[in-house]
């Protein structure tokens, strides 16, 4: 079974992303949406939360990074950008979806 995890809060504000990373099994996919996309930026104190989670694949919702003025060039290496269509595809290609609220 593979799980798509969604995280919608900034890791600077809440413990949500850290919970997800701790409790997601190896090989899982994590999609950052809404305020969760701030966690995808490189160069911050908490960029290491994602940088250290080598066993997971990270995605970020493009419309949400554009809304917030974050350039794709500032994303942590290896994070893939998807649109809503890509979000739907990730829910299909994984076996289930867990929202970290």
């Amino acid at each position: 079974m593979s799980i798509l995890h969604t995280v919608n809060k900034s890791t600077y504000e809440r413990d949500t992303l850290e919970a997800c990373v701790r409790l997601a099994a190896k090989g899982g996919s994590v999609l950052l949406i809404e305020d969760g996309v701030y966690s995808a930026m490189s160069g911050g104190n908490k960029s290491s939360v994602i940088e250290n989670a080598k066993d997971l694949s990270f995605y970020v919702l493009g419309p949400d990074i554009k809304a917030r003025g974050l350039g794709e060039d500032r994303l942590i290496d290896g994070i893939k950008v998807v649109d809503y269509k890509g979000f739907v595809e990730l829910t299909v290609s994984n076996d289930s979806v867990t929202a970290w609220l």
């Binding site: 919608n8 305020d35 809503y84 269509k85 829910t91 299909v92 929202a99």
Partner: protein, 130 residues
């Protein structure tokens, strides 16, 4: 594939409703079925027809209603959550002696069992909340 959606936050205050709407649109465009959208917690406030949002912003409540009509989507507001927060349909109006009702076209009020059933009947359940 058959999807169901849970929306756990009210419109405008949180982005959840908007993300859910954009997800539903993309799923429908990709040829998937949306079996049900279940509104829980403050999410029930998506189902009011009393709102008059600013004209230069998305009308969230109305967008749900239009999506339901266009794609035959079952929009269910949880009755227990709705009673706490004041979303009323004709049955609730009569039962609880209210002077009016504010349920939006395309929404219906029903029990929590509808959420469990959505989980059982659908291939994927996707939750949008806070």
């Amino acid at each position: 594939m058959k999807f169901s959606i849970q929306v756990s936050e009210g419109p405008y205050n949180h982005e959840s409703s908007v993300t859910a709407i954009n997800f539903v649109k993309a799923a429908v465009e990709a040829g998937h079925d949306i079996f049900r959208v279940f509104f829980y917690h403050d999410g029930v406030n998506n189902g009011t027809n009393y709102a008059t949002p600013p004209q230069d912003d998305m009308n969230i409540q109305k967008t749900w209603s239009e999506l339901a009509a266009a794609h035959d989507i079952d929009l269910v507001v949880c009755v227990a959550a709705a009673q706490r927060r004041g979303i009323v349909d004709e049955g609730e109006m009569t039962r609880n002696k209210k002077d009016g009702m504010n349920i939006m076209d395309g929404f219906r009020i029903s029990g929590l069992g509808q959420l469990i059933e959505a989980g059982i009947e659908s291939d994927r359940l996707v939750v949008f909340g806070d």
